[in-house]
């Protein structure tokens, strides 16, 4: 499986990561090699096998709908790079 620079740039855009030109080249070569090792999966017969997302036999865990204190707002906002009037401030999403 050959992964080109365009594919890496597309994936970086999907993941919202800015990569340098050198990183794009390095990842293209490394991804090609790593994905090549994944071919081994095709040797395992998975006809009629259900996927396992996690290994616990738990589903639909319910919790009581009960009000409880959350973290203090000022402590949480103190971690944010930009705040205004008790809110997180973000730049315009639509321009």
């Amino acid at each position: 499986m050959e992964i080109g620079r365009e594919t890496v740039l597309h994936l970086a855009r999907l993941a919202r990561i800015d990569l340098t030109s050198d990183e794009v080249s390095t990842y293209a070569a490394q991804l090609s090699e790593i994905l090549g090792h994944f071919d081994v999966l095709q040797r395992v017969d998975t006809e009629d096998v259900e996927p396992t997302a996690h290994t616990l036999a738990l589903e639909d865990v319910m919790v009581e709908d009960r009000a409880r204190p959350s973290l203090p707002r000022d402590q949480v906002l103190a971690l944010a790079p930009l705040t205004e009037d008790g809110y997180l401030r973000v730049r315009a999403v639509l321009e």
Binding site: A12, R16, V44, T52, T55, V63, E95
Partner: protein
């Protein structure tokens, strides 16, 4: 005798604290002195919280005097920097979280605090727990106490090195594909990964949520059982923590292996295995047999060869989703000089994450993207089912499985950093256990050319007791756990 204090086991220290032959303050000070003496060379810690540790030690001494102590009261512990700790830094070994101070404690940290633990500080790790050598830390690599030119393993390399070097009586780490067991093996200490769901993941910074599990590094198997007694159990704050009773894990330790059926899967002893590691395995099997276990080497888990691929699809896929939270808006590093919101976010992530983290996010994004989801991610989940079924079938015949922890002893710093796939191969014997959600332990199995290696014991889901029992029987047949690195 002061020089011996940093190398006490939990059980020894607790006994002396209860006898009032030793105070937690003396013990804690001895550890802080040891850290000051050797950590400039080992570099196990990202942050040492000395003042806070001494305050906790004084509080513990008060509890002990009032006969209000648990087996962990007053005992100094190191915490991997992937677990959030209220009021002190949590970086995950990343520039992305440089300066981040958590407003809350992880459940495991809170449980240790309730048990009277003394927290010495936060230990170094591969960035966001992605790596097998601790060289992916954005801050500095940790060194193996047995040979400072070599890696301690990873991702919990700081925790393993701290216990091995006498810089903590025990430590917590996290294990997604071997990140407790592999560094424990390479540093010559005990490392335990409990069954998925045994320990709350609340406050464990997420890497791969279906694989991550918290566990201890200790000097003995008994100590690991004592720590598990304190940290296991259902937590309403983690919906994947199992509502299953937690036994006293020390109860069956001494029962031995007589009559136990132990399987040795042949896929874990490949021709390519390091000759020294193979000899240690041969010895381990003889020892267990001499103690009355029935050893069967005619065992096959044929899909093991696909486990590495399954892991390096599932873990990066989950990581690519989990790490989407680092956007420069809520906390952590934030680039703000871009022309648009998107440019800020992309530069925040491009600069805040290191090379391996970005590589895995890209792999995961690929495996989950339109056109490749069925071929990679869904296929990996199906093979995961096959791998688990093979384990389940084996456990119908065997009480436990044993295997090496790593294909080789510790390698040189810088030896594998240029080849990600060569680095991934370090986890080939540990990651199937995470894929299956099973409990596994690494127990010191002697030395190869002066470097420690580990024996892995793998058990049925929620049967940590049997894993401990086998590991304890093997450990007590040798004196390796008493050896100290030449620092």
């Amino acid at each position: 005798m002061t020089n011996d204090l940093p190398f006490l086991t939990i059980a020894e220290a607790a006994e002396r604290l209860l006898r009032r032959d030793l105070s937690s303050r003396e013990l804690t000070q001895a550890l802080l002195d040891r850290i000051a003496a050797v950590d400039p060379r080992v570099r196990a810690y990202l942050a040492v919280t000395a003042q806070r540790a001494l305050e906790q030690a004084d509080a513990a001494d008060t509890h002990i005097a009032a006969r209000n102590a648990t087996p962990l009261t007053g005992i100094p512990v190191a915490i991997k920097d992937v677990l959030v700790t209220r009021g002190t830094p949590t970086t995950c070994g990343s520039r992305m979280l440089e300066g981040f101070i958590s407003p809350y404690d992880a459940t495991v940290v809170a449980r240790l605090q309730e048990a009277g633990a003394v927290v010495l500080g936060k230990t170094n790790m591969d960035e966001f727990a992605m790596g097998s050598s601790t060289e992916n830390s954005a801050y500095f690599p940790t060194r193996n106490p047995w040979d400072l030119e070599r890696v301690p393993g990873g991702s919990s390399g700081g925790s393993a090195a701290a216990v091995a070097a006498g810089e903590a009586i025990y430590a917590l780490g996290s294990d997604t594909g071997g990140s407790i067991r592999q560094p424990a093996a390479l540093c010559g200490v005990v490392g335990m990964k409990p069954t998925y769901g045994r320990v709350s993941r609340y406050g464990l910074v997420a890497f791969a949520s279906s694989l991550d599990q918290v566990g201890p590094f200790t000097r003995t198997v008994r100590d690991a059982a004592l720590v598990l007694n304190a940290i296991c159990g259902h937590d309403p704050l983690d919906s994947t923590s199992a509502p299953i009773d937690v036994p006293d894990f020390t109860a069956d330790l001494e029962k031995g292996v007589r009559g136990m059926r132990i399987g040795v899967p042949r896929e874990y002893l490949p021709d390519t295995l390091d000759q020294g590691v193979r000899e240690r395995m041969t010895e381990a099997l003889k020892t267990l047999e001499a103690h009355g276990a029935e050893i069967d080497t005619d065992v096959s888990l044929p899909s093991t060869e696909a486990a590495l691929a399954v892991y390096y699809i599932i873990a990066p896929s989950e990581a690519s989703a989990n790490l989407a939270r680092y956007d420069g808006v809520k906390y952590g590093y934030s680039y703000r000089d871009g022309k648009t919101m998107w440019e800020d976010m992309e530069k925040t992530r491009g600069r805040g994450f290191g090379a391996e983290v970005k590589r895995r996010i890209i792999i995961g994004t690929y495996a989950l993207s339109a056109g490749y989801y069925d071929a990679y991610y869904l296929k990996a989940l199906k093979v995961r089912t096959v791998i688990r079924r093979e384990f389940d079938a084996a456990f119908e015949r065997y009480d436990a499985l044993v295997a090496p922890v790593t294909p080789t002893p510790a390698f040189k710093i810088g030896e594998k950093t240029a080849d990600p796939y060569a680095m991934y191969l370090n986890d080939v014997f540990t990651l199937p256990v995470n894929i299956g959600g099973l409990p596994g332990i690494s127990v010191p199995a002697g030395f190869v050319d002066g470097l420690p290696v580990g024996l892995q014991v793998i058990g049925k889901p929620f049967d940590e007791a049997t894993v401990f029992r086998v590991a304890h029987a093997y450990e007590q047949a040798h004196d390796w756990y008493t050896k100290r690195p030449p620092l």
